[in-house]
């Protein structure tokens, strides 16, 4: 684990079902995340991914790489363009800094429209198991 290391990219196919499943699993019943007609009335062309799902995906992206013994300490995200159904979200990451067993990872998620999420994740790894 070194600063500058890239994490393998994760491509998430964002289907309509995925948007709704993420919203309901996070108990977010805002209509713009499940009702396309209501979303259009509010100026959006379609339903879109809710912030809790994006947050969950960023966390998953990092723990997928570092393994089940890694612990998330901080997750900070800022949303950019929305993620509508039918548009894959591609998460990429790079280790920005390492301090002992703690790494800070810069995460970027892009889709067809541009940058959907920019984030920083702090993760700690358990001490290596003695051989």
């Amino acid at each position: 684990m070194r600063a500058g290391d890239e994490l393998p990219a994760l491509t998430v196919p964002v289907t309509r079902t995925f948007v709704v499943a993420g919203a309901i699993a996070s108990r977010d019943f805002q209509d713009v995340h499940h009702d396309a007609e209501a979303a259009r009335a509010k100026g959006s062309p379609d339903i879109f991914l809710n912030i809790l799902t994006t947050n969950g995906l960023v966390g998953r992206f990092v723990t997928d790489h570092f393994g089940p013994r890694a612990t998330l300490v901080k997750v900070s995200i800022r949303l950019g363009v929305p993620n509508y159904p039918g548009d894959d979200l591609v998460l990429t990451g790079r280790i920005a800094s390492v301090n002992d067993r703690t790494a800070e990872v810069s995460v970027i998620g892009t889709n067809r429209l541009g940058r959907h999420v920019t984030g920083t994740v702090t993760v700690t790894l358990p001490p290596p198991v003695p051989a």
Binding site: R27, A41, G56, V73, S76, L79
Partner: protein, 308 residues
């Protein structure tokens, strides 16, 4: 109804006030963890099996209101959102989430939380529309012990446009223009100079409003325009919910103001949301510019007292 530029100083007074507190509707539990992992496609074995921990990024999910609506929201936070609504910022979108996790959450943990309104931004114009960013900070506890912090930023904004044809425009329709004629031209000339003019009968000295060619008391057609001090109180009011009119965004209050001089006039109340208008409330005259040109006299209520 207010000029949105006017509302920011009032919005700012909500910074530092509690936004909410309460208890998660369910304790941390394995079925919600499993649903989350299914939705996210997260196969991390730490979140499954006999002794799972909850995915840390679920932190906010444990305190979501769900379909049954907000339970622990303070009146202050409700007022802040209502003020933004009345300034036309009726739509909301989440923009930032910062979470820190202090300990893992496990099934059975009872979640409690306290939130505070951390900041309200000045008016910003974004791709979605113009509005204000509101940041809240929530401290989350599990079985009474600190478990994490959750800072959340939303944009409350006036939608730039509805997306599809046939959808009612949220704004853009002009207000009806005042009808100016020989009988009331003096009133509107006063408004243009930011003066509220009322008529005083030259014969009997009775004050009258609205402007009329003759005195309702003695019939004299002679009068002099005098300037009102601008002080008044709410004599009565109604809140309009329906029917909507394209240039106005219900609900809004329409008030009958009794001026210090004793005459009454119908106007808007600025400075407080519609549900904070009260009979007897002291108000002060101010002029607002609407539709980019027309000046109108309205009455500003004092800002609510801020308790910290």
């Amino acid at each position: 109804m207010d000029d949105p530029e006017d509302v920011y100083p009032l919005l700012k007074t909500y910074e530092g006030r509690p936004a909410g507190s309460g208890r998660g509707k369910d304790p941390v539990n394995a079925p919600m963890i499993r649903h989350w992992c299914e939705a996210m496609g997260d196969a991390n074995p730490a979140y499954a099996g006999a002794d799972p921990v909850a995915p840390p990024t679920m932190l906010q999910a444990w305190i979501m209101d769900g379909l049954s609506g907000p339970t622990g929201r303070t009146a202050a936070y409700g007022e802040l959102l209502a003020l933004l609504d009345s300034a036309g910022c009726t739509a909301v979108v989440a923009t930032d989430c910062e979470q820190e996790y202090l300990r893992p959450l496990r099934p059975g943990n009872v979640i409690t939380f306290d939130s505070v309104i951390e900041s309200v931004s000045p008016r910003k114009t974004t791709r979605l529309g113009t509005g204000h960013f509101v940041t809240t900070r929530t401290d989350i506890r599990a079985d009474g012990e600190p478990a994490g912090t959750h800072r959340f930023r939303i944009l409350k904004y006036a939608p730039a446009k509805a997306f599809a044809k046939g959808v009612r425009e949220e704004s853009g329709a002009a207000r009806p223009r005042p009808v100016v004629n020989r009988d009331n031209a003096g009133f509107w000339e006063g408004v243009a100079e930011r003066r509220l003019l009322i008529q005083r009968c030259d014969a009997c000295a009775a004050l009258r409003f609205p402007w009329l060619p003759g005195c309702g008391g003695c019939g004299s057609p002679e009068w002099t325009a005098v300037e009102a001090s601008g002080a008044g109180t709410v004599f009565s009011y109604v809140v309009v919910h329906h029917p909507p009119f394209p240039a106005f965004d219900p609900p809004y209050a329409v008030a009958l103001i009794e001026l210090a001089e004793g005459i009454r006039m119908i106007s808007n109340i600025s400075g407080v949301p519609h549900d904070r208008v009260r009979i007897g409330m002291p108000v002060e005259l101010e002029f607002v510019r609407v539709d980019g040109g027309q000046l109108l006299p309205v009455f500003r209520a004092p800002a609510p007292q801020v308790a910290r």
